[in-house]
Amino acid sequence: MTSLALARARWLTGVVALLAGLGCADHDATPTAEVAEPAGALTEATAPSGFPAGSVARTAPPDNPLTEARARLGRRLFYETALSRTATISCSSCHVQEHAFSDPNPVSSGVEEQQGTRNAPALVNLAWSQRFFWDGRAASLEEQAGKPIENPIEMDLALDDAVARISENRSYVKDFQAAFAEPVTTDNLQKAIASFVRVLVSGNSPYDRHLAGDDDQFSAAAARGEQLFFGEKAACFHCHPQGALTNDGLFNDGSYRDGADEGRKAVTGRSSDLGKFKVPGLRNIAVSAPYMHDGSLATLRDVVEQYVAGGLGHPSTDPQIVPLQLSSDEIDDLLEFLDALTDSDFLNDQRFRLAP
């Protein structure tokens, strides 16, 4: 059977299953036979303004150089439901491109509708980040990539089982040979996914064009918001400095409540890490609602208003989080600025999808 015929057969199986009323309960764990891929190199992205200079390839670790073959393979795996125990969920289930590869639900649903405790973070410009997950527990994209697959409330599939499934598919085996010159392993499975996440570069928002001197889509209100953002009055820049709009740090921003998710403290055991979570970059923030590590704030206005109030008031709040004196007009201006961080090219980039 040709690969096309295999794909067709698999599609038909799905249709029959649905017609039979089996729904999601009966899924084929056979990996996607072969996929049509969008054109365009994935690895050509260069650093947006204000990021460490050079190509995104430069950010890759020495033991996982960024190649087109690895990034394309990673893209295929990113959309692969066979990487979940029930073959129902892929990375893309919770990291949706139109939402800047975040989840529009406050917390994501794993296999068998298990609910997580944190909002799936956006995957934007992570090539320049040095720690991953809301609590920073992974030190590289490679280390990060396998953990949602293994997590019992996310995809719940042991990496060895993932390798076994993927290895059943000759097309994947061929792709792994091309990308790594070896069979599928847990190590190169994670390296491939990391390579795809590494190329998710966003740097063409109205704000980015404004930095380059083009203010066509950067309104006067956004410009006022920019002044507030980078000034002491709103003081956002302390954690979201110009450039990447994140300092990649872990801070207690005043979102912590007694008894809630302890964040960084659960990783380090240090008492002063209570309620610390990773500072996200802000490109495309307007499309990645809801907000905060727990998805507890539905809108950006809610976020700004929480900061204006100086957080929720827990004593563990960082001393840099203090009540702000902002008028409602100024809050509107800040929101205009945050809207100007939306890069529609990124959200619609066909290279980041698999062709239907």
């Binding site: 204000g50 460490p52 002491e232 400095p241 008492s271 960082d318 001393p319």
Partner: protein
């Protein structure tokens, strides 16, 4: 074949030039021109170290060259000396990340990080011997700068490659020199924005960043003011420079093997400097943490912050 031979000749010529300049560019910029510029800058940086580092001459054009990511090593051999920073307060360890009981309450440091660069060892005759800052594996530190970050335990030690000798102490730039302090977030670690040392108020970088929570004892009378809970010591390109710090204590470096020593970082002294009554009303943004930082910066040469613990 003639063409290939000619091409080979050109390549060999370039390679020889590269070897002679000892400019490996391992970072992979793929930019030979920038590398050559960096080498020239390395020479400038060398003289800067000997002069104490704070003020680098040259205009904006020279600044990029004077802070090369890949530097020329000062020497190729020596003994690796590991110096681990250990904060103290009131004669006890001052633990970052945990509550520290002091008179009147508890201090929980949340964030402590600072730059160390341009280190020189002090010989018995008082002369200064510049040494390279290297990684634990012996590689030159990018830009010749080390970021001490108490969120990452491995970063709280510096390593230098030192000739054998009996030294009476050391000096270093408590921060980064003016050439590296460009406020250019396009640089790699440890000068990137991920360092959390971006100094947003002005064009420049922080040299030290300290944030803590203060919990007053419920029963304690509110007598003396608590230590500053935030200190942001930074510089302004061309006008406000990183201070020179002195490391006190004898350091014997043998010809073979390695040396590991502890540098006690006195927060009594840091708080004393940050709480001085110096008039710093001219700081760019007069927030409490910036005022505390500027007071500390001015006081550093008069403080005994860094002391080598007995081996």
């Amino acid at each position: 074949m003639r063409f290939q031979a000619a091409l080979g000749y050109v390549v060999v010529t370039i390679a020889l030039t590269g070897c002679a300049s000892n400019n490996g560019d391992p970072i992979g910029n793929g930019n030979g021109v920038a590398g050559a510029g960096g080498l020239a800058g390395g020479g400038v940086g060398g003289s800067t170290i000997a002069n104490g580092g704070a003020g680098v001459a040259g205009g904006a054009g020279a600044a990029a060259e004077a802070c090369p990511e890949t530097r020329t090593p000062l020497r190729s051999t020596g003994t690796v000396v590991e110096l681990g920073f250990a904060p103290t307060l009131a004669g006890k360890p001052f633990v970052v990340g945990e509550p520290n009981t002091v008179v009147g309450g508890q201090i929980s440091p949340l964030n402590l990080r600072f730059y160390v660069s341009e280190l020189s060892l002090t010989a018995a005759d008082g002369s200064q011997l510049p040494v390279d800052l290297v990684s634990a594996a012996g590689q030159l530190e990018p830009y010749g700068v080390h970021l001490v970050n108490f969120e990452e335990p491995a970063s709280t030690s510096i390593h230098v490659l030192a000739p054998a000798g009996d030294y009476t102490g050391a000096r270093f730039t408590f921060g980064i020199n003016d050439a590296c302090n460009s406020g250019d977030a396009n640089r790699d670690a440890p000068l990137s924005a991920n360092s959390q040392m971006v100094w947003p108020h002005v064009a420049g970088s922080l040299f030290l960043r300290y944030e803590a929570q203060w919990q007053a004892d419920a029963t304690a009378a509110a007598t003396a003011a608590p230590p500053p809970s935030m200190i942001h010591m930074g510089g302004v390109v061309g006008s406000v420079f990183a201070p020179q710090a002195t490391l006190t204590g004898a350091l014997a470096v043998p010809a073979t093997g390695s040396v590991t020593r502890t540098i006690q970082v006195s927060f009594d002294e840091i708080f004393r400097g940050a709480s001085s009554s110096d008039d710093v009303s001219n700081v760019p943004i007069p927030t409490p943490e910036v005022i505390a930082g500027e007071r500390l910066r001015r006081a550093v040469p008069t403080l005994t912050i860094f002391t080598l613990a007995a081996p």
